[in-house]
Assembly symmetry: C3
Homo-oligomer: 273 residues x 3
């Protein structure tokens, strides 16, 4: 299943519109190319409608939001909805400031998202309108573990039903749910949290996967999550003793570039609940 | 010829003012240093005149333009013209939105550019006022090939005469024309299109080359194009089986850093028509 | 001493608020993670108070300033002062434009900085209200050498007394002074000046070090400076013949990631005057 999801990205080379932060934007562009898609970044309100229109999917990331980009997110999101283009929301740091929480809530209200991807603290903030995000990382009290996995699954299912979006909670175990089925994905490596922007990169890649697999948002999002985790595993094996988090970042994107759909099919570790 | 063009960059270490996008800006800064220049990025209208004045050349890239940076581009460009500083335009994504096309046209009208560098779709958009850009990549129907090379050369010559700028169309074969002579450059590697921002990096480097070689804009631009392509070849040879597009990006800039003028002289593959 | 300074960063994992430029912001994020801290970038005036409040330290860098980010710097700086959070100023390019010089002066007037870090041209601009910065690099006439070291030390001491900040002048020899004691640090490698943003990265890391070592701003800043220089040495030894400035950038951050406090203790080369 994941294999064909990935094959479709490589075949269709979808053009993805990204309104994203200036911290990890270059990595988002390069990982989109690495997985087979084509990125365009544009965040001015005078052009986002045009750009969304020529693209096949939209990725909204609130990482370094400001009043101008927020307006553009709303315009682009509504346009994408009208065109029935898939839209991904990455609510980076929701819970860390009133502006981020309010913006995330407003985006949720005005736009139908196909997938929402964040860490558990960010997604809880969206679900409950308030949060305990530690900056842009998940709160320690909040991590996904084997112990609270059932609880997180229930939470994700409920929030997916409420929003109509595929809820993607990433962490030590990734949980991807459309309210009916839930993928629990166990790919990845703990060192991925030492790289700035692996979450942003994944959100961009999710946009490419769901755009290339219409009517399979759940499986496509799960495939992207698994691919990112598998890339983290492959990249980690390459590291020599002196390599650190930046070389690791480079190797992760390299691993996506070289990954075959077959490799993803074999390397994916997940269960459906 | 290319050899001495490159030597002059290394000798003069020109300070280059960049008003560019936030996606590939870091790579632009590092490749400018790698080739021997010194970069400064500044895009606020309250300082661009000052910055252009202390610099020796200007690089304008519309990659993530907005109303503020557009105003700054116009101010900086006019100031550079007044000071007789060379100016490069990279019309990223012209044709992809009305804002980009209109901005590119307005820049063309208000500023005398020394060099305009883009893919064939972007340059056609500038020439005809409309285009079929596929996001930030050239339209497939539009690629430069041996079959349409004569036609592209004629197009570039005509547009160079009209604008007074050296027209630099990059692709599988690069065409650099001042309306009289045209360089057809066959350096490079197809994998360069898998790296976000090789075009932006090249535009920045063109600014360094033409700034260091006054009255030789055609040869200097051609030398920069050839150097970038040669770096793509050298970097590609270094790649191991697990390396992908991000390591390739790093190796390309590394190759510029280590390239000697002699190496460029020997490695350049071009004809003048 | 430096050893325990570094240990405290790794132990406390401080959350650092960065208002910084879009050129080197990704490297700042990754080096903060590499040294043990957690970064958040936020520059909109509607959220900086919130973000500063949840963070433990603030890093202000004027690299690509604009009217919006300047307002945010002032708001965040005042908030940090009120909360007694340490604040670092990196006056990138002060002296290169009136806007940068004026902004740096206004920040100095309105905010109590714990540490101010820049090259000698930038710091002189702050001290004398005008400067001869060559873009974002120190003026050649201005470099720190063994010959003018005594003079620079006296200058740094005087400016430290005047501002109440630890003055950190980086160059071939780094000078860190609180007006009473001065660290002269001889770590580093000349090739570090071929990497865009080593100064920005250091400023971010200084914020992490002083935040983790309250009441030891001088020693903490000196430890960060020494760590950066040592990383430059370690990274340089790794370089192969074909590696250039971008691989060097990656290896420097990698070296911080892998550096142990003991390694810093042994590798630090400094004298206190």
């Amino acid at each position: 299943m994941f294999e064909s999801m990935f094959e479709n990205v490589r075949e269709k080379c979808p053009l993805i519109h990204n309104i994203t932060n200036y911290v990890t934007v270059n990595d988002c562009a390069n990982i989109l190319i690495a997985c087979g898609a084509s990125p365009i970044m544009a965040d001015d309100k005078d052009e986002v409608e045009d750009i969304t229109t020529i693209c096949a999917g939209l990725h909204i990331n609130i990482g370094t939001l400001n009043r101008h980009s927020i307006a553009s997110m709303l315009i682009a999101g509504k346009r994408a909805n009208k065109l029935h283009h898939p839209v991904v929301l990455d609510p980076v740091g929701a819970g860390a400031s009133k502006l981020r929480t309010d913006t995330a809530m407003q985006l949720l209200e005005d736009i139908d998202f196909t997938v929402i991807r964040g860490n558990i603290s960010e997604i809880k903030t969206l679900a409950f309108g308030r949060g305990t995000t530690k900056g842009v990382d998940a709160d320690v009290a909040d991590k996904v573990t084997e112990e609270n996995l059932d609880e997180i699954i229930t939470f994700a299912k409920t929030f997916a039903k409420k929003t109509g979006a595929v809820i993607t909670v990433t962490g030590a175990i990734d949980v991807v749910s459309d309210g009916r089925s839930t993928y629990c994905i166990r790919n990845g490596h703990p060192m991925m949290s030492s790289v700035s922007g692996t979450g942003c990169q994944l959100s961009a890649m999710v946009a490419a996967f769901i755009t290339s697999n219409p009517n399979h948002a759940l499986e496509a999002a799960a495939a992207a999550v698994s691919a990112m985790g598998l890339a983290g595993e492959i990249a980690h094996e390459r590291l020599s003793e002196m390599d650190g988090n930046v070389t690791y970042r480079n190797y992760i994107i390299d691993a996506i570039y070289n990954m075959t759909p077959e490799q993803l099919g074999k390397g994916a570790r997940y269960e459906v609940r």
